[in-house]
Subunit: 218 residues, 2 copies
DNA sequence: CGTGCGGATTTGTGATCACGCTTCGGACAT
DNA sequence: ATGTCCGAAGCGTGATCACAAATCCGCACG
């Protein structure tokens, strides 16, 4: 119905299937859809006012990225990940994201850190309000704001694919345990950035990523 | 026309778009298509005897995986990667593949090593015959045979996505410099496997991945 | 009250078509 | 001989339809 995705900075909303794709993508990544939620081509087409053709392309693309799973009969739903899969994806995040942080560190000026602190406070707000979707969204924004400075588009795209696969699961997990403490390691990340401490930054990011998901699967 | 892809172990060739997708995917990954080669929906449909619809789905899926690039006007071709992108993808390989090797190490029995040595000799043959496509294919088979033992499907899928993006470029690069020496570090990988030397295996894989691509971009 | 079972509905798949845009080739003028 | 322009051909996009398979719901049977 609503959620304009992010018609955003790029003025390339030319094709209908791209608009559908982008909207569904951010919905999945931000955890607006719960794991196992089914999607139908005709339903999506109806919602976006398009026919089945662009809906099918958008769905197919999301399936290829792992944002959605397709059963043998073609039925599509958000993924329901097992613990071993969650830990595997967390491991990959722990391998890639410190590298992105390290590459961003030399280019992380004070304006960037200020912006990250603002996002982090919005994140803390979401925790106190028990707003799972906003929590996930601001958490990812915090990381992406830093990683954009790494100027490593392929690596960032790969990490976003991981976020995409974890989106519904993260929302469900964060919603399950109503944590009332802000994300623990974001302050360590900010401190390491200010100090220019590269090993400390790597460690802070790695523990933020793994710890954030590890104690949820136990 | 030919190249049955790998109708392979899974007997799920039910849908036409899946058959098209799989065939094109292995073509790209093995470097059977040169960088910049254009693809058209009607051409693919004609070749596979299907209409544009399944051809479009297969293409869209490959674009989502980075195996093909789509211009703003919807034109599709194999990617022409710049050096910085190649090095970035090689860095990601260097981060993920040693981890896969390390996870496979405890499960690498002698039968597996024997199979890898057979693949490696086929690889050496391809080098001596200057058969670039076979070289790329056996090289990837060598790695995949090991990584399958890691039982980390998400990580393996991510690495295969990297191979897919590098496919046309690898073929073009290996074809450009007619190397007549076999891949240098495969023997080190095999030796580390036999010795159960985990740090040595990580190093051997990392250098095989980076060195294999690094001295090609210079 | 639980358990199969059968028909109606809904779903994905693939083919076909119309539309608008991009691209490429040749003719013309310079 | 070179550059420009215009037309035709080819392209991707999206809508619609027919078909087969899967799913769902209610009814009958145990």
């Amino acid at each position: 119905m609503e959620v304009p995705a992010r018609p955003g900075p790029d003025a390339s909303s030319l094709s209908a299937h791209d608009r559908v794709y982008r909207t569904l993508r951010t919905r999945v990544m931000h955890g607006e859809l719960l794991p196992g939620q089914p999607l139908t081509l005709r339903g999506i087409g109806r919602e976006f006012g398009v026919s089945m053709t662009p809906a099918r392309e958008a769905i197919q693309r999301l399936v290829a990225e792992g944002a959605l799973t397709m059963s043998g009969s073609g039925r599509v739903q958000t993924p329901e990940l097992g613990n071993e899969r969650i830990e595997e994806l967390a491991t990959i995040r722990a391998l890639l994201e410190p590298e992105l942080g390290s590459r961003a560190l030399p280019r992380a000026h004070s304006a960037l850190i200020d912006r990250m602190e603002a996002i982090n406070s919005a994140n803390t707000d979401a925790v106190l309000r028990s707003d799972a979707v906003t929590y996930v969204r601001t958490n990812l924004e915090f990381h992406r704001t830093l990683y954009l400075r790494a100027q490593s588009p392929a690596m960032l795209a790969m990490v976003e694919t991981l976020w995409l696969q974890l989106g519904p699961t993260m929302r469900a997990l964060y919603g399950r345990l109503r944590r009332n403490t802000p994300p623990p390691h974001h302050r360590m990340i900010l401190a390491a950035l200010k100090a220019g401490d590269e090993p400390g930054l790597r460690l802070a990011i790695r523990t933020d990523v793994t710890q954030g998901l590890r104690h949820l699967t136990q």
